[in-house]
Amino acid sequence: MPLPVVVKSLSKTYREGKLEVSAVAGVDLELYAGEIVGLFGPSGSGKTTLLSMLGCMLKPSGGEFSLFGNDVIAREEAALSALRKQYISFIFQAFNLFPALTAFENVMLVLKLKKVAPSLASKKARELLEVVGLKGRVDFLPRDLSGGQKQRVAIARALAADAPLILADEPTGNLDHENGRTVMEILKTLASEQGRCVVVATHDNRIDDLFDRLIHMEDGRIVSERRWDQ
């Protein structure tokens, strides 16, 4: 089984007028199934850019990138979309739930996009909402849910995509400590019990203990990497 992610000398440069800005510069990284990895660093350190590239949403400027054995660098947008559909799921700080759809419908939408049969999709959506502790909130609109509950719906939606790689950008950024910790515990369970690879970009040092591996970035480079137990 190929590793979820193998990147070598991955880089991303932007042009700002005449200046060339290096957002990610020569990152080497391997990610494994069943682990939850924390990507730390100050604003502008390159962690969101790295996450965008790992999610096949931003084309790298250079380097090598293998996603479950597939070479990402040479692919066009349509092929990247297909890779995302097969392997990657996302959780965002801002939840990005459709306000007009209930928690259940938001999850169902992804299952419909995956062409899951309606009866099976309905059962799965309810199960996923139960997994994230929202059994009693399935028919609530996002406006009637707390921030933590919204993020849990977003996690259920990400799980509906049934992807082996979950990328989360500041998933606790809009949550209080208690809700943030609950969300992170769900993500950790997904990694440890379901064998998914979860990468979380965060500023939140209070949840360090929930990561298997901590990667620290500065100026577009990985400056330190350690396991939690080290």
Binding site: T48, T49, L51, S52, G55, M57, L58, S81, A82, R84, K85, Q86, I88, S89, F90, F92, Q93, A94, N96, L97, F98, P99, A100, L101, E105, L109, V110, K112, L113, K114, R157, A158, A161, D169, E170, G173
Partner: protein, 375 residues
């Protein structure tokens, strides 16, 4: 995706209401303009379309029904001698004036026909019969003339071209494009009333082709035989008259311009609403893309929103227009509503709303995925 589009529309009720109002405004205007334009077209050729006979012979270069010139009557006999002609009748249409009961004058069109055959006479009588105009100063007036000449009834007298004429019948459905009332008299009385026609001249010959003879062949034969006149099939003369009034007078162009403006107003309203809605949901759409949805999946949500707006707006407009048809008629206008017209307006509404979604689709196509990571 239809369900998602519907939910988005129902969620923001106020915005959806105003969008619906905009579509209803634009589509009702299109319905009204198309209906009235078609009504005018039908009115302009209503006599031709309802007169029996397959062929109309007119003076040379006549451009429409209402302003044809006289030509010699004896051509009737030439026409009757043409192979394939079953019968031919003389009909006069000319302009005159009627003295109003309360003073003043109203312009009228006098139509003279042979009351024995009824060819060129009214086709739907409300009161009296077409034979009543025989042998005297008698006329049939259409019920729609009340707006121009005031209330009247059978037995009333009116002065037409300074001659006292008795109303002996009331017809239905005879309107002219010019809005001047059409009065039906015997052929000979019309000849006397419209002095510029003259005693030995007619304005039209109406010809019936024998069974088994193609109208086009008989038209050709008549063209060959009759000199100094034009010969048209009934359909061609009807179309010629309609096109004259609608396009050569500029009436049609002004209607078409209003329809076009309504189309763009509707497009603008729906386009702006859908674009705003798309922008509000841009991160949600982006998230769907990130989760593997193709552009087509997201386009379908946007297009369904446009289609729902179009269909709902169309239905409300259709009901509104159906309810207001009587109002138009009370105002003296003919408003045509046919299923073909309704389908055409539905198509126009769909095009209007779906094309308005193009800006939203462009926006979706160019979503920057990195935007999703910006909190």
């Amino acid at each position: 995706m239809f369900y998602v589009a519907l939910k988005i529309i129902l969620y923001d009720k106020l915005r959806s209401f105003f969008t619906l109002l905009g579509v209803v405004f634009a589509v009702s205007l299109i319905f009204a303009q198309v209906g009235i334009l078609l009504g005018l077209m039908e009115t302009s050729s209503v006599v031709i379309d309802n007169t029996p006979g397959d062929i109309w012979v007119t003076s040379k270069n006549s451009r429409n029904f209402d302003f044809a010139h006289p030509f010699p009557e004896y051509l009737l006999y030439h026409a009757l001698g043409v192979d394939g002609v079953q019968w031919a009748e003389k009909v006069i249409i000319g302009w005159g004036v009627m003295k109003q009961v309360n003073g003043g004058q109203a312009q009228v069109e006098v139509m003279g026909f042979n009351p024995s055959t009824g060819v060129g006479g009214p086709w739907d009588m409300k009161e009296g019969s077409i034979g009543d105009v025989k042998n005297g100063n008698f006329m049939i007036v259409d019920e729609s003339a009340t707006k121009r000449i005031g209330d009247f009834k059978i037995g009333d007298y009116r002065d037409v071209m300074f001659r006292r004429i008795r109303i002996v019948g009331i017809s239905r459905g005879v309107r002219s494009f010019t809005t001047a009332p059409i009065l039906f008299t015997s052929y000979h009385l019309a000849q006397e009333l419209i002095d510029y026609v003259g005693r030995d001249k007619t304005v039209f010959l109406i010809v019936k082709a024998k069974e088994g003879h193609a109208t086009s062949k008989v038209v050709e034969a008549l063209r060959h035989r009759l000199k100094g006149v034009d010969v048209f099939s009934r359909e061609d003369f009807s179309t010629k008259t309609r096109l004259y009034w609608i396009f050569e007078t500029g009436v049609g162009v002004s209607f078409l311009l209003t329809i076009l403006v309504s189309f763009f107003i509707g497009m603008l309203i729906v386009g702006q609403t859908i674009y705003n809605s798309t922008m509000e949901h841009i991160k949600e759409f982006g998230t769907l893309k990130a989760l593997g949805a193709g552009n087509g999946d997201i386009y379908s949500i946007i297009l369904f929103q446009a289609a729902i707006n179009a269909f709902a707006g169309y239905l409300v407009s259709l009901v509104f227009t159906m309810l207001t048809v009587k109002l138009y008629e009370a105002g003296g206008m003919v408003m045509v509503m046919k299923w073909e017209v309704n389908m055409a307006v539905l198509l126009v509404t769909m095009i209007m709303c779906l094309s308005s979604a193009v800006f939203s689709i462009r926006r979706i196509k160019n979503i920057d995925p990195a935007m999703l990571f910006r909190g």
